[in-house]
Symmetry: D2
Subunit: 345 residues, 4 copies
């Protein structure tokens, strides 16, 4: 019997992306799609791109009803709302993949410093950080997977192997990230109106973006000691994609080839991480709509490393990675349903 899947909070871009990627699959079954705002409305009428795929209607988030209709849930609601609904599903024996930030930060104090008081701290310890390339085995048996943020995915994948192997200095790591606008969500706001973004470019939340502690947590775990970063996100006039330009000092004698080899070695069994040839750097175009993370790197004669990674923020940076986690949890091939190439041009 096919697994019954629910999506809580499916009216945003990550919800729609989950449906896009799940809608063609015959091995799972979408049984509950919720949205307070659109309850009772056909999914197709809000997302006409899904016409012919989904006959479902958005339903109100009635937790008991949803629990009875599903085996595994994706929660695509805002942080704070996530921690209010997830414990119920876990207690009902459901498995949950949470796309919010609520269970990504293992240290409650850090979470509360950057977000707000945590109402379900008892799950912080058992939740598994859902970056399959680092935590594949734990994800396989997890009850609750905390799906990583988009900027963290684009930053941790290139940096963690290098920190683990002491190839770069843990200080002075700079992550200069550029994201497409879908990362800001589908809520009405002046700042993300077409005319405010198009033909524009800006940095935002300098020194204050909430993905900072998430990146630092995982880089510190990789290094085995505290790692601090300087992280600056920017808004790009495009729909999808994150490119992170990462600067770090290499340890003595570490050149481009050492860096690229270490990455290739670390990701030799990771189907979604592609390490590029020396001298080649990626464009976000080459991962649009796909689940890949492509990485290029170069070290100059002074030992300064420049590394560039690209992902699609909605796919590998959110919903595609969530499905990758689901596949692992269900014990089926990790690439099932998310192994298509990018949409170019």
């Amino acid at each position: 019997m096919s697994t019954r899947i629910g999506i809580i909070g499916a009216s945003g871009y990550t919800g729609c992306e989950l449906m896009r990627l799940l809608s063609c699959r015959s091995d799972i079954q979408l049984t509950a799609i919720t949205s307070r705002q659109y309850a009772g409305t056909a999914v197709n009428s809000i997302f006409p791109s899904l016409h012919a795929f989904q006959d479902l209607k958005f339903m109100a988030p009635d937790l008991e009803a949803i629990a009875s209709m599903t085996d595994l849930l994706f929660t695509a609601v805002p942080h704070k709302t996530a921690m209010e609904v997830i414990p119920f599903f876990i207690e009902q024996g459901k498995r949950v993949i949470d796309l919010s930030a609520d269970f990504r930060i293992r240290d409650r104090q850090v979470y509360e410093e950057w977000y707000q008081p945590h109402s379900a701290p008892e799950y912080l310890e058992t939740a598994v950080y859902g970056l399959p390339e680092l935590y594949r085995e734990k994800i396989a048996t997890a009850k609750l997977v905390a799906n990583p943020g988009c900027y963290p995915t684009s930053s941790i994948l290139p940096l963690a192997p290098l920190l683990k192997r002491n190839l770069i200095d843990k200080d002075f790591i700079i992550i200069d990230s550029k994201s497409g606008t879908s990362g800001a969500g589908r809520g009405a706001s002046v700042a993300t109106l077409f005319c405010e973004v198009n033909e524009g470019f800006k940095a935002y939340k300098i020194g204050k973006h909430r993905h900072t502690p998430e990146i630092e947590q995982e880089l510190s775990a990789a290094r085995g000691e505290r790692v601090n970063i300087t992280f600056t996100p920017h808004l790009v006039p495009m729909n999808r994609g994150i490119l992170s330009t990462i600067y770090a000092r290499t340890s003595a004698g570490t050149g481009t080839e050492t860096i690229l080899s270490a990455l290739r070695q670390f990701y030799r069994d990771a189907p979604f991480v592609r390490i590029l040839e020396e001298g080649v750097f990626p464009n976000v175009q080459q991962v649009r709509g796909s689940n890949y993370c492509d990485i290029g790197a170069q070290v100059d004669e002074n030992g300064q490393m420049v590394m560039v990674s690209v992902i699609d923020n909605l796919t590998k940076g959110a919903s595609g990675q969530a499905i990758q986690n689901m596949n692992i949890m269900l014990g089926i091939p990790e690439t099932t349903g998310i192994d298509m190439p990018a949409l170019y041009p």
Copy 2:
């Protein structure tokens, strides 16, 4: 002494465009800039592009205070709000250029059918439709100028001369218009979010757009009998610009050269209308940020005419034209302060 200018409702794109175009002028003085939402805030902090130009703060719309500070007012508020504030200013002896639709439709019944009940119908008759190329003399002495809509400007300029001279059939006129997104305003809404517009293209309000009666009014006036049109607006993923592709049947023997000559003749003294050579059609890029309307036309062997006009919807389609009207009202050269070329690329 320089004319004191007020802008009522200056927090939107047309308000900002008025300030962009007026801010460098020494012959007028911006004395009152209002915004309910931003009252007390520096104009520069909302519109940093005006930094170094405007030291003004947005003020609350206190009508009496504003009247005492100004000689001439631009009202850039939504329709309905416009007719609530304009009578007061007129009664105080101020001259008003209204960028809303409230005084464009001379027939109250038509207005009320497409909009809502009119609270100041006594001004409908005396308001002058502010298309300088058609009503320059009346504008010069008007108390209240109803600044045309963007789509109407792009449609009436190419069509009115041809209808006046009976060069085209008054039936079966089709206006297929394409507008940049700034025409939708600066209010928060899902439909005009970057990701909803970018890489998209759609028609909207088919058969129902409120600019239809405005276009029909002026085309009927030009022809001297009732003219009906089919008007379809579309949304283009760009900030500024309207391109209208206009289809009509020419009268017997009317070819391309006749059409172009008639237009050239009609606009020989109009500094902002440029009629292109035979075989040449305009791109909205060539008028971006400028007050020009460029027109190309062609008639095929079956007598079917295709005409293409372009304007910048915020400039000739709104604020630039409003300033052109102001110049005429003040008896100064029509092109003052709005005679710069387009910003390309």
Copy 3:
């Protein structure tokens, strides 16, 4: 044994789109990918979006070698080149799907008037126009399929059923089409540089576009008598998508519901044509990267019909439709490998 597929001229956008759609399939095998320009180069190095999918190299177009390696060929070369290579493959018993215009026009004289002398006129008669919704049965057994143009696909699908059933007047049909820039191909040119297209909008080739006779041929075939159209293409600052706004006069008594019913009835077994509800019109966003054609229509009180169709010009307008044709030729389900939803946002 899986069918061996060749792509002649694979370095453009339609070639890349064919590879995107074919690269994940296990039932066929890409065995020959040609490009004069890139011969000897890895496909991945030109199209990094295909990294991990294709180990093939571009090869020079050695016809004999290719014939020995393939069962079915897609020709994605420019017109004129197509008719020079296709006869050889047909004579070798290969089946060919030609994405150029060389075999679309059945009347040699018309072809030569709009293009150039035809060097293989003997195939004009037997080539099948590859619009599956109209010619599915003939395609199934065809040796040579002439894959339709992008604008024709977006125009013929909405209009043919209405002309067949005499629901609209055959005169005064206006097709106002708007295309994304990928339709202009991947060749270096000033006119399609980013800065020349972005923040711009223009009509082009007014009255002269070569898709005109192709549309007229199929509409005339549907009607059973000569149909002439007025066709105006426009360039939209987006990568993919065509939206055609179509104007026609309905026959007496034909309203919106009649039109929509006729379309629904005609396409009841067509998996890729979706007729929208009354009052709903499509956005190109809802078909991006997919093989769908979505159609909305409305008739006003004067009997003027406005119809809007959308396709992705590279998918249903080119490579997706070519694969749909291939599926039909191979006797497998028409939707194989092209049944995914659109990429939104």
Copy 4:
């Protein structure tokens, strides 16, 4: 009598921008506009945005003829071509503002290492680097002004005052720049086609961009000792604008306010540099089409500074700055003709 101006190589974006900014001025006269490619063609037919402003035709670059028609020249030709024509004009007593890189690098050896052999090294010493905020007095009397590159302008303006005053560490300066596509010029190329840039984002020429030595030259001059930088340019899907995110270590005790004060102090008489309030960072939208450079900065608790600057690459980054230099050379107010606000949205 008004100064007679020539533009050598006016068919690109910087040439067009010069004409846009000069075309409305009555104090100068455009007398010679050259283009090999378009010789004999009306300027308006290539740049229709200039219609109604320029009756000139492009002429072939006949140096003697041009010298006889002009007093001051802008050379907007590629590097290498510039050094071939400029000596002639200088010898004829003309003053020259060169928009190429040929006279920016004072050290011939460095120039030849990054570019090619220099054919007019005797002018390297006397050419003045045309950044008015640093070299205003020298520019006033210069015969030959080397107009700065776009990335250097966006990098040197924020960094030079801080290096001069020893507020930041001279090592580990990272300049992560993002440029609109007009910076790549108007030549046909696949890499800058609309579909290759739109919905894409990439870094390019990592560690190899020719603006690196230019930036290092001026930062070293400011500091009084050798300064090396890490510079990474990126391509943004927009027409105009450069945003540079700059990372440096501050010296002990230097906080945000110290940095901002130092900048404000340094630029107190510079009309085109605007230092933003603490906590405010600029968007390229606020300088589009204008000659401003806006700068924001912040220092975190660890002494890591993040600074963001924006310019329009065609205006302050090229043609606007060239006109600013011309104004200074002519002894007229520096802001003449370039003091308009940005075009927003």
